[in-house]
Symmetry: C2
Subunit: 249 residues, 2 copies
């Protein structure tokens, strides 16, 4: 049996939802409500001591890290393959997925925290915030919460993250000048792992990603979104739009 | 034909030298002298636009990123396998390798820069330093050089990096309580990818890694070093000890 603990179909949770849908695999979905801090609950921390989603459980074996989960799924269920047969293209798939994890996603994520999580933190009463911070297992996550609940990121930090987002879209655009998909000739985990971040850039930074500014990345998004599996993954539970409405956006 | 562009048998260069030796693969070694900034030379930047070692060239195909290079080598030359057959153990191999790349290595690397690169920078005349900085392709690398050549890292940054190194050794120790090797029952790329960092901790932080403080990590190092391939990789060209002698260490 496959079980996925995940949040909204965005960022790292989307990567695994998307992969499961592309591969046509049945799974039990466990929605973890990040806005209620369920990822730091004792029940969830027993599953992943880092208190982070997504987590895959396959016949009792716990696999963490969205990029690793997706390679695992492709290795164990090879019927629908999402990794290029050609080893050079497979290396390209891994290089871009690594770039997304180490550079692109953290840069974009700072803006996600700045826009959304900061406002969630502002709504919490002092005691409640203390209690939530006290339950976060990773120091890096605790520090990020303390930052957004306090003075927030500095303009210089936000500007540098935006620069990195721009570098990331340039890199994608350059790759797509040479091949239809990120790893080369076939649709792969590299496209699936990049999709939620690129789609986030389109939403947050129209001055970086538009049909005019990055035409190849723009049509790549359209082609990814034309796939039924992408739509099926995007249709999973999502509380964020409702939350943004309560903020008056 | 296999060619590897690499520096000293330490950090990321060691990962690939070690993997090639374990697999018994013949390769042409191209030593890139980091102390002469050959990684930023126009010739090298044509091979890797990021100006970073190691780089593998296999029959003309260029593969970057040490972790990806090692999976590539294991995929293309499967005779001596360095990835567990069991997919759960293979996922564990990837999770720890990712942890090394994203958390352990950057934390330890700050101390490497603090101890060694800072002193190299101090020896450069003003103009020479400007010229070197101007040739570095990645902004993140330029900034690191500017930091070590200027006021260096803050005590708080160094202390936090040391904390992360300590967390990394704790995580290794916990894993080795459950299995003889990092991914589980077999020696794998996870051990190869972690080795140069763990060996660096033994050298720099005897207050974190000693036979007494982390006995399993300590004997794991001994077992890795008893392998002829490890010794063969460590015997590759290394200018760092000579450099440290010139500093009077």
């Amino acid at each position: 049996m496959l079980e996925l603990y995940h949040a909204e179909p965005a960022a790292n949770s989307m990567k695994c939802l998307h992969c499961l849908k592309e591969k046509g695999l049945d799974f039990v979905s466990h929605y973890v409500d990040l806005l209620r801090f369920e990822q730091h609950s004792p029940e969830f921390v027993r599953i992943n001591p880092n208190g982070q989603v997504p987590v895959l459980i396959h016949d009792g074996a716990i696999i963490t890290e969205s990029t690793v989960i997706n390679e695992y799924l492709d290795e164990v269920f090879p019927a629908v393959s999402l990794r290029p047969e050609n080893p050079v293209e497979r290396a390209r798939m891994r290089i871009f997925s690594k770039f997304v994890d180490e550079y692109f996603c953290p840069a974009l994520s700072m803006w996600g925290w700045h826009i959304l999580v900061r406002r969630v933190a502002e709504r919490l009463a002092g005691n409640e915030l203390e209690e939530i911070l006290g339950r976060i297992p990773l120091k890096e996550q605790r520090d990020k919460w303390a930052t957004v609940a306090g003075e927030s990121f500095t303009p210089a930090q936000l500007e540098d993250s935006k620069r990195k987002v721009s570098v990331s879209i340039d890199r994608l655009e350059t790759i797509l000048e040479q091949s239809p998909w990120i790893a080369g000739s076939v649709y792969s985990l590299a496209d699936i792992n990049a999709y939620p971040m690129v789609s986030g850039v389109r939403r947050i930074f129209p001055d970086i990603l538009s049909e005019h500014l990055a035409p190849r990345a723009w049509t790549w998004l359209t082609r990814v979104e034309a796939r039924p599996a992408t739509q099926a993954a995007l249709a999973m539970p999502n509380k964020v739009p409702e939350l943004l409405r309560t903020f008056g956006d």
